[in-house]
């Protein structure tokens, strides 16, 4: 933490022009012989590094947090009744890895009502303790009582890091509780690592996914992050249950809310592309009606689903729920084949952790080939029909 200090004695019109150009955010301006840094500044410190001493970074003294008081890597258990969202297991797997660096325990936090058998399932994933808040006031997700229970847990247990699934629920709860703790929160992390001093290294795509940012909270605890479903790998459950269930008490008067849930209906069962093991993804280079029909046929033959890149959603060719990418869904299938997709980073960020990526594109310089395991420089219109034919022949032979 600190501030930028301009060494005005070093500034002349030439230097000012150089600095103005240096700033990637256009935050440096030079007017009436005075250099100024506006609030567009993102503290990237490019001007400090490359400004030749014209701008200095001044550290501020700070009160430091006693990190040894905060122990444990905690996963918030995202669930509906006794149905646990699978992102929870993925996060527990990651939490175990992170905790092994520092020797911290792994915790799971459950907030809800009438939780049934779901909690016991958690004991097969290698958590040390499952903390449970069970109250009728917590039956529907409402922000204030959930935040209150979460905060009660943090005050009593003091976990060092907290991982929350980036579901609709998690994206509301995590910021609210992080703000209450005056603590850092990093959204949509794609990589998590642990330092020996218990600082959680959080890496996420920034600026529309064009660069990766590595983020840490060196002076606040707990450290919060959210992670999307299918970013990490779900561990296999252990046959033996282990760990302990800890019932937590909170008085009902702390669980009041200005929100009343009037009714809830199950969402219509939509195709969820992130659930499929095989994906045929269609981009601008394959948007013709014939190609789309072939993509659908190929997907069916491979037992998968059709997905697409952003331009096809914006062009109203596919519904938004088919979209892969930062502004769409993150997918991690066993096999994905991209047809005519150039692979802007915002698309790649949504699929690059897939097990096997095959890209077909006519442009050999398309960025999709940077993430693909198998590159096919060629025309989808020629290759796909031949491929379909071969698969059909093979299946006919079997029968």
């Amino acid at each position: 933490m600190g501030n930028l200090k301009i060494n005005h004695n070093m500034i002349n019109a030439e230097k000012a022009a150089e600095l103005t150009k240096l700033c990637p955010f256009g935050a440096i301006s030079y007017e009436n012989g005075k250099l100024d840094i506006s609030s567009a500044c993102k503290m990237c410190k490019m001007c400090v590094k490359k400004g030749g001493g014209a701008i200095d970074y001044v550290e501020e003294e700070e009160v430091s947090v006693d990190k040894s008081l905060w122990r444990g890597v905690c996963v918030y258990v995202d669930h509906y009744g006794d149905k646990i969202h699978r992102v929870t297991y993925e996060l527990i797997g990651k939490a175990r890895e992170l905790a092994s660096v520092t020797g911290h325990p792994v915790y799971a936090l459950v907030i809800g009502s009438d939780l049934g058998d779901g909690i016991n399932k958690l004991l097969h994933y290698g958590v040390d303790k499952v903390f449970v808040y069970d109250s009728a006031e917590l039956s529907d997700f409402r922000i204030e009582p959930y935040t209150a229970a979460f905060h009660d847990f943090i005050e009593k247990v003091k976990p060092s890091s907290i991982l929350v699934g980036a579901t609709n629920l998690g994206r509301q709860l995590a910021p609210r509780i992080a703000a209450r703790c005056r603590a850092g929160l990093t959204a949509d992390c794609t990589v998590l690592e642990m330092k020996e001093n218990t600082d959680l290294v959080q890496i996420r795509p920034a600026f529309g996914g064009n660069i990766m940012a590595q983020i840490i909270s060196t002076n606040t605890r707990p450290q919060f992050c959210t992670v999307r479903y299918k970013v990490f790998t779900e561990p296999k459950p252990n046959a033996e249950a282990s760990g302990e269930i800890v019932k937590m008490e909170i008085s009902d008067d702390k669980l009041t809310s200005a929100i009343k849930v009037l009714s809830g209906v199950d969402k219509p069962k939509d195709i969820d592309i992130s659930e499929s093991d095989v994906i045929v993804a269609v981009g601008r280079g394959a948007q013709s009606e014939t190609m789309r029909a072939m993509a659908a046929e190929l997907a069916e033959l491979l037992g998968g689903v059709v997905a697409c890149s952003r331009p096809l959603v914006e062009g109203n060719i596919y519904d938004a729920k088919h979209q892969i990418g930062l502004s769409g869904r993150t997918v991690k299938p066993k096999f994905i084949i991209t047809l005519g997709i150039s692979g802007a980073v915002q698309f790649a960020a949504g699929m690059k952790s897939s097990d096997c990526i095959v890209a077909v594109n006519t442009d050999k310089n398309a960025p999709i080939f940077d993430v693909a395991h198998y590159a096919i420089v060629g025309d989808v219109n020629e290759i796909v029909p031949k491929l379909i034919e071969k698969i059909k022949e093979a299946q006919a032979d079997v029968q």
Binding site: F141, V278, F335, H373, I376, K386
Partner: protein, 262 residues
């Protein structure tokens, strides 16, 4: 009913490239625009005022140039707006941004309803709204699909949770974040633009705030720090399937069989 809409100025294109050698963002010729997700929030607010009366105001945090999006919001139907702008706000993470906005809101006036868009297209975190609500001590609901009614000091909304579509009543004042694509935002009126005067856009800086502890704002008030930025990694293990279309289709077919996809 007085409604405040939180808006943000974002880069006009998300195709910001990074020079792999210097790590510098290439932003040549990238223009700014009003965050597209905020348009749905603005439209929701304006429609509510048309139905139930009241006024829409907007607020943003950013450099002085962010004035242009306040003007744009006025052209859509807001009555006035505020730019929170100060060097001391620079380098803010979610925590410090939300705190700054909450301080700005306290300074701006009393609102029954605060509306945010789902997320911005540059930060992409979708977290600031909920943190602002926490700082203001009011309830918040995200992923709102429609605002169905306002009566008896309550707002009735339909919101999307992960498995369910939920109808809720929320006591005012409260904060809601609306999803994208829930309405058709109106276009800014050119006619109104001719009538926008300077006094419709207010600037608030650090010195105007109730809390003037510098450590609560900007980089100093941020709990997270960016340790480094780097270009996304390329996949190292890769091979290509060469030949004419027939050979490529054959190679791909063999791969599909090998990977046991079929």
């Amino acid at each position: 009913m007085n409604i405040l809409v939180c808006i943000k100025q974002v880069p006009g294109s998300s195709n910001v490239e990074v020079d792999p050698v210097t790590g510098v963002l290439k932003r040549d010729g990238v223009k700014s625009k009003l965050n597209p997700y905020d348009l749905y929030g603005l439209e929701t607010a304006i429609e509510l005022c048309e139905r139930f009366g009241g006024e829409v105001e907007t607020i943003t945090m950013g450099p002085p140039q962010a004035k242009s999006i306040i003007v744009e919001s006025i052209c859509m139907g807001a009555k006035r707006g505020t730019v929170l702008s100060d060097r001391k706000f620079a380098g803010a993470d979610v925590l410090a941004t939300a705190y700054t906005i909450s301080q700005g809101i306290k300074k701006t006036g009393e609102f029954d309803l605060i509306i945010c868009g789902k997320q911005t297209t540059d930060g992409d975190t979708a977290q600031v709204g909920a943190e602002v609500a926490e700082y203001l001590g009011i309830p918040n609901v995200s992923n709102v699909l429609s605002v169905d009614d306002v009566k008896d000091g309550k707002v009735f909304v339909t919101a999307s949770l992960d498995e369910k579509i939920v109808k809720m009543e929320i006591a005012l004042p409260c904060l809601i974040s609306v999803d994208g694509d829930i309405n058709s935002p109106r276009l800014p009126s050119y006619k109104v633009k001719q009538t926008v005067t300077d006094d419709m856009v207010k600037f608030i800086s650090f010195a105007d705030f109730e809390d003037r502890n510098e450590k609560h704002y900007g980089l100093s008030g941020s709990a997270t720090q960016v340790e480094r930025i780097f270009p996304p990694e390329k996949n190292s293990e890769k091979s290509s399937i060469e030949g004419d279309a027939e050979a490529q289709a054959e190679g791909l077919f063999a791969l599909i069989k090998n990977r046991k996809v079929i």
